[in-house]
């Protein structure tokens, strides 16, 4: 998930708060500790909220007797901050692809011993040997998704290009994700560049396009944009695939999720073992368990997310999910999609550019 916005965090926090208000008997926030007799063996997992279904955790505990504690985060930065304190106590973390790069650079995760993992062959071709982690040396992809846009056909007949979001004909009915990296995917691709660009001039061009676009936007939104699309308050909005968007696409026939013809982008959240993890054997056991096709299928059936496991597709019971572009984009649609990578030192161009966009 390359979705790291304040508002998302806020939404999650507020949802938590509401939940806490409704059910005062709610347990420790974001932490599911299954009561298991265990064999004295433990596993501490730190994962994206909602990406490892409870059914998967329970199944693993039952089979191995290892007691699993899952803590959740809703931004890569939160997770990185915890790991960088040195004594996080986690045995397994779930960073997004560009965060894998950063964690390798900061030496916070350890190389994986492939002899202790079974089932890597089950991964889809594009997640074996990905550009951000050659040879899956440090991470095993688990969930993937896309960044594209969605539109409501009651006000826009059909749309295939990012240009829809830059068209002044829809002034005041357009939304962009309130996230720098996501905004620049659109900004760079609409000006004819790759989303992975780190070129100063290309980024400046994208910034100019985004500044111009701001005048016709209703706003930046990464919280309730699927609802705005559904109610027609938004004609088109930049969007992340996943549970929230998938539900709206499924329930409202007028809303369509599109990977733009310029390419769009893919993200993936994978499993990695932090340096200094105490229960490494259990961590490898869990990775191997998650790589089983029938287990990976639960990510879709119980979690409404796309699994990086190709072999899992045959085991997915919810066949509609496989056809829902807001969960599984077709291979043709993502043929040109860019894997968003860590911009490295080009970060400063994005930073200055995005501040300019926001302050304009």
């Amino acid at each position: 998930m390359s979705r790291t916005t304040v508002s998302r965090t806020l939404l999650a926090t507020s949802v938590l708060t509401v939940t806490a208000l409704l059910a005062t008997a709610c347990g420790g926030s974001g932490s599911t500790t299954a009561a298991s007799s265990g064999g004295g063996k433990n596993l501490h997992v730190y994962a994206w909220a909602g990406e490892i279904p409870d059914s998967v955790v329970k199944g693993f505990e039952k089979e191995t007797g290892i007691k699993v504690t899952v803590d959740t985060f809703d931004s890569n930065e939160t997770m990185t901050a915890k790991l960088s304190t040195g004594a996080s106590g986690y045995d397994l973390v779930e960073p997004s692809q560009y965060t894998v790069q950063q964690l390798i650079g900061q030496q916070l995760i350890q190389p994986l011993d492939h002899s202790k993992i079974e089932g890597l062959d089950n991964l889809a071709a594009k997640f074996r040997d990905p550009s951000y982690d050659k040879g899956n040396k440090y991470s095993v992809p688990w969930i993937w998704g896309t960044t594209g846009f969605a539109y409501n056909d009651t006000c826009i007949k059909s749309a295939t290009s990012w240009k829809t979001l830059f068209d002044s004909a829809h002034k005041g009915k357009l939304y962009m994700l309130d996230n720098m990296l996501a905004a620049y995917i659109a900004g760079l691709q609409v000006t004819g560049h790759r989303a992975t660009s780190t070129d100063k001039d290309q980024i400046a061009e994208a910034t100019a396009a985004l500044v111009k676009q701001k005048k016709i936007l209703a706003g930046y939104n990464s919280t309730n944009y699927p609802q705005l699309l559904s109610s027609g308050q938004a004609c088109a909005a930049e969007a992340w695939s996943g549970t929230a968007m998938a539900k709206v696409v499924q329930s409202n026939k007028n809303v369509h999720y599109v990977i733009p013809s310029e390419g769009g982008s893919i993200w993936t959240d994978g499993l990695a073992i932090p340096k200094g993890a105490k229960n490494v054997t259990s961590a490898y056991a869990f990775i191997t368990y998650l790589l089983r096709p029938e287990v990976a299928a639960k990510a879709t059936d119980d979690g409404s997310s796309a699994s990086a496991n190709q072999a899992a597709r045959a085991h997915i019971k919810d066949k509609d999910a496989l056809k829902n572009p807001a969960i599984y984009a077709s291979d043709a649609a993502i043929a040109k999609a860019d894997f968003l990578l860590d911009p490295g030192t080009a970060m400063q161009y994005f930073q200055q550019g995005w501040t300019k966009v926001k302050a304009s």
């Binding site: 790291t4 304040v6 806020l10 996230n179 720098m180 701001k214 209703a218 930046y220």
Partner: protein, 303 residues
């Protein structure tokens, strides 16, 4: 000299009393220690860290590398960032002005009610505080959305016709700010206004003052300390707000708070985030100083 004759020389402070005073001091210290340590650990240490980090160089991953540079501050003087600071100060000033005006009117109304009624009304002002700030802000999204309750009301009154697109907008963002800070403005004004003898207003009225002059010539000067406190409690926190512009303003106009959050998270530039925080802190201290001086001058004049 015989040893036996001399009784033990009287000491100015008997040993028992001395240990007693020492014990007293130790007890005082022990009692103060928890609060002192809390302030030290939770306020001073983080503050020192932030100030230190604001002069540090960022590493390739946005963390703190160490070293010493003024670059984080000089970069903040880029017009792009200055605009954010300027906008924040403007919004905070406007919000303070509106909150003071509304706060004064509400306080005046409150102070004129019977004591039981005052208690009930104050309770009604406090009740929303029992709900989380975020949830209340989310409630405004529903209230202001097209076809929402507010829209329904204005439709019924014939002010609008059909769904109105009020949200997201700067207006909605401003409504959110006023909503968030109005109660904090009401309390200090109400507290001072309650201490003002109601007969003063009556006397002014008897002597021929109209409504406007009763307030401007008689009551307002008397509640000025309350107004200053309210201004302080509104202006400074407004500078740090970041939720409201995102949720109600559509993220189109940033406040300094938004800038700091983005610097720390998305931009992965902790040193510059720290520098922006320090600048904000200085702005806050400056406004406290200005308002404090105003309050002191006021006291000198009245005494």
């Amino acid at each position: 000299m015989t040893v036996t004759a001399a009784p033990p020389a009287p000491v100015p402070v008997p040993p028992a009393a001395r240990t007693g005073r020492a014990r007293h001091r130790a007890v005082t210290f022990a009692l103060l220690a928890p609060a002192g340590l809390t302030v030290l650990a939770l306020v001073l240490v983080p503050l020192v860290l932030v100030v230190r980090n604001s002069f540090a160089l960022p590493d390739a991953y946005g963390g703190i590398e160490g070293g010493f540079t003024f670059a984080n501050y000089t970069e903040l003087f880029d017009p792009v960032y200055l605009k954010v600071f300027g906008y924040s100060l403007g919004m905070a000033a406007l919000n303070t002005a509106v909150c003071l005006l509304l706060g004064y009117l509400v306080s005046y109304y409150l102070a004129g009610r019977s004591p039981q009624r005052q208690g009930l009304l104050l309770l009604l002002i406090i009740v929303p505080f029992w709900t989380d700030f975020l949830v209340r802000t989310f409630a405004w999204i529903n209230l202001l959305s097209p076809g929402g309750p507010v829209n329904g009301l204005t439709d019924a009154l014939g002010i609008t016709h059909g769904p109105a697109q009020w949200i997201p907008s700067q207006g909605a963002s401003f409504v959110g700010l006023v909503y968030a800070f109005l109660p904090t403005a009401i309390f200090p004004i109400y507290a001072t206004l309650r201490g003002v003898d109601p007969s003063l207003g009556e006397a002014a009225r008897d002597l021929g003052c109209g409504w406007w002059r009763v307030h401007t010539r008689v009551l307002l000067p008397l509640v000025r300390p309350g107004l200053l406190a309210a201004a302080l409690l509104t202006f400074i926190p407004t500078l740090g707000v970041f939720v409201i512009p995102v949720l109600l303003g559509g993220g189109k106009n940033q406040l300094v708070g938004n800038l700091i959050v983005t610097l720390y998270t998305e931009f992965r530039n902790q040193p510059m985030g720290a520098a922006a925080s320090v600048v904000l802190l200085v702005l806050m201290i400056a406004s406290v100083a200005v308002l404090g001086t105003a309050a002191r001058r006021l006291r000198r004049r009245t005494s």
